[in-house]
């Protein structure tokens, strides 16, 4: 396999705008990428891979069911609104509710084929162009596809671009009838929260530090949905109850946003940058699709397996060399991590799954991160602080780690970093993808 690295990144601001077309958001992140990577000629791009949680068929369907009547929140599912679904498990993008505001746009008509559309709009003529859909982890799965193109020799330069419109139908997994009428993500999040609190004696107050730190970190992220909002621990604790175990400020908020990265082979990378970030390890795990198959509601097993495999691969490929630790690499070598904190409880659960905290000590680790104002984990504010545009999230996470490793994170740059990790998951943690990145 050939080595592959990230040579450029682009992001858009995250907003609550639902009037923008999917291809417009994609294109803005691509423009940001090429503006900041002027050495790269767009004609060099041999493959374009788009990430979108509705498979490119974004729409503003709003059948009105499963609505929570709130004004935000929801990892992969807005508390404030919902989209169509049917009993046979299929999504119904745009099938009900008001007509889309700007239905002359391809995405607003429910069109797929978004990768070739983006290629045309950006003036590229790649050999391959396709879309990756995997709900909230579409972004990192698209990166894995791009990585595979380069590593296999199918392409030397691949553009991976992800975007989402806030009211995407990709927020809710309608297929999962094991959730009964409780299909909205706040329900699985509540059950994981309840399970985690019960298993390890954790309180709601213990978890309130997660959003407080996330929003504080997001203050220095110009792309964040609302960087001016900085709730305290007390604000989180006092925010509106959605269920017995979940408050409004425990939830990430779906939003509109885009992010792109450019992946190049070792041979091509030198033409574009002298500061590449290598994708040294890839790990993926799918334990199920349905939530009810969770064997233990206090753990996210897919995260543990994906991160273990990513670190193992990075180590076996000499990823530890940067740290002078030879052919091994462990979680303690990771300087900066972007993890999928769709809801407060996800942070401590994932810290444990990654090995950044001992089992049952994740909440204590979250508190330590909060008390030390650490930027080692989720320096851009995570999903809770920055917002969660599903198809862009994994790409925004990878772009952040790349910028941190390249010392280009500006106001949120922490220490000098050499090893980074991205963890991105979907559908209540039934699947995870992890990437280990080294300078």
């Amino acid at each position: 396999m050939r080595r592959a690295c990230i040579v450029g990144c682009g992001t858009t601001g995250f907003t609550s705008d639902t009037s923008e077309a999917l291809e417009s958001v994609l294109l803005r992140s691509v423009k940001d990428l090429f503006d900041s990577t002027p050495e790269c000629d767009r004609r060099d791009v041999e493959a374009v891979i788009v990430s979108n949680a509705s498979g490119g068929c974004a729409g503003s369907g709003s059948a009105g069911h499963n609505s929570y009547g709130g004004d935000g929140g929801g990892g992969g599912g807005s508390v404030g609104d919902s989209s169509g679904g049917s009993r046979d498990g299929s999504s119904r993008p745009g099938s009900a509710g008001s007509p889309p505001a700007r239905d002359h746009h391809a995405s607003r008509r429910g069109s797929g084929y978004m990768a070739p559309i983006l290629a045309e709009l950006a003036g590229m003529r790649p050999r391959a162009a396709h879309t990756v859909e995997s709900l909230c982890s579409s972004g990192t799965n698209a990166i894995v596809s791009g990585y595979a193109h380069v590593a296999s020799g199918l392409a030397d330069v691949v553009l991976v671009s992800g975007a989402e419109i806030r009211d995407t139908p990709g927020r809710i997994l309608w297929w999962d009838d094991s959730r009964g009428q409780f299909k909205h993500p706040v329900y699985w999040a509540s059950l994981l929260t309840s399970g985690y609190k019960r298993a390890f004696g954790v309180s709601d107050d213990d978890l309130a530090v997660v959003p407080a730190r996330a929003y504080e970190n997001a203050r220095s992220n110009p792309d964040a949905l609302r960087p001016e909002v900085t709730p305290t621990v007390e604000d989180v604790a006092g925010s509106r109850r959605l269920t017995g175990d979940l408050r409004l400020l425990d939830c990430s908020r779906p939003c509109t946003g885009g992010a792109s990265i450019l992946i190049a082979s070792e041979n091509a990378a030198g033409r574009y940058t002298d500061n590449p970030v290598w994708i040294a390890g890839v790990g993926q795990s799918v334990t199920s699709a349905g939530f009810a198959k969770h064997s233990d509601p206090s753990r996210i097993e897919s995260a543990r397996m994906a991160c273990r495999d990513a670190l193992r691969m990075a180590g076996s490929r000499g990823g530890g060399a940067a740290r002078g630790v030879g052919a091994t690499l462990s979680i303690s070598d990771v300087d900066v991590a972007e993890i999928h904190d769709a809801f407060s409880v996800c942070e401590p659960m994932i810290l444990e799954a990654l090995g950044m905290a001992e089992p049952g000590r994740g909440a204590a680790a979250s508190r330590e991160l909060y008390e030390t104002a650490s930027r080692r984990v989720n320096p851009r504010g995570g999903l809770i602080g920055a917002g969660h545009p599903l198809g862009a999230t994994g790409l925004a996470q990878a772009a952040e780690v790349a910028r941190q490793l390249r010392c280009e994170a500006r106001g949120r740059q922490a220490d000098h970093h050499e090893v980074g990790l991205v963890h991105n998951m979907a559908a209540a943690g039934t699947s995870s993808t992890a990437l280990v990145m080294v300078r």
Binding site: H65, R179, K183, L191, G195, R240, R241, D245, G290, H294
Partner: protein, 145 residues
């Protein structure tokens, strides 16, 4: 829609939950599919539960409380029946999230029975409700699902 799904929906519309079972290995298949996830055998529907003639028992794996319209009062009055959503492991091997109305919060391991099921009026899927059994617990009831 596949024939087995049509048949299932006709039953659940009448309040009957017919457990999908593999004709080859006997495994319960949920969410419903035409073929078994264990052996890819053909799936058929077993007898129905929910009309009171048979009881489908299960145990709560995890639960949380519903708060309609976000109006959380924190009331601990035992005279008020509150609504909970529970991940339940049924003795047939199926796990799903169901609603439980109870005066006090249920706990993992509590025994419940499927009391009703149906189609969501909004078209968002199936509705399941469980209740605590009236009769004293059967010593042979499932304990480790």
């Amino acid at each position: 829609m596949s024939p087995v799904l049509s048949e299932f929906e006709r039953a659940i519309e009448r309040g009957l939950f017919r457990v999908p079972e593999c004709t080859e290995c006997g495994a319960a298949v949920w969410p419903l599919s035409e073929f078994c996830s264990v052996c890819l055998g053909v799936v058929r529907l077993g007898p129905g539960y929910g009309d009171g003639s048979r009881r489908l028992r299960g145990r709560i794996v995890e639960c949380s409380m519903e708060i309609p319209s976000g109006r959380f009062t924190g009331s601990s009055s035992s005279s008020v029946r509150r609504s909970f959503f529970c991940l339940v492991a049924f003795e047939c091997g199926i796990r799903l999230i169901a609603r439980l109305a109870a005066p006090v919060p249920p706990a993992p391991g509590d025994l419940v029975v499927l009391s009703s099921c149906g189609l969501s009026p909004e078209g968002s899927g199936y509705i399941f409700e469980v209740s605590t059994p009236d009769a004293p617990e059967d010593p042979a009831s499932p304990t480790n699902m």
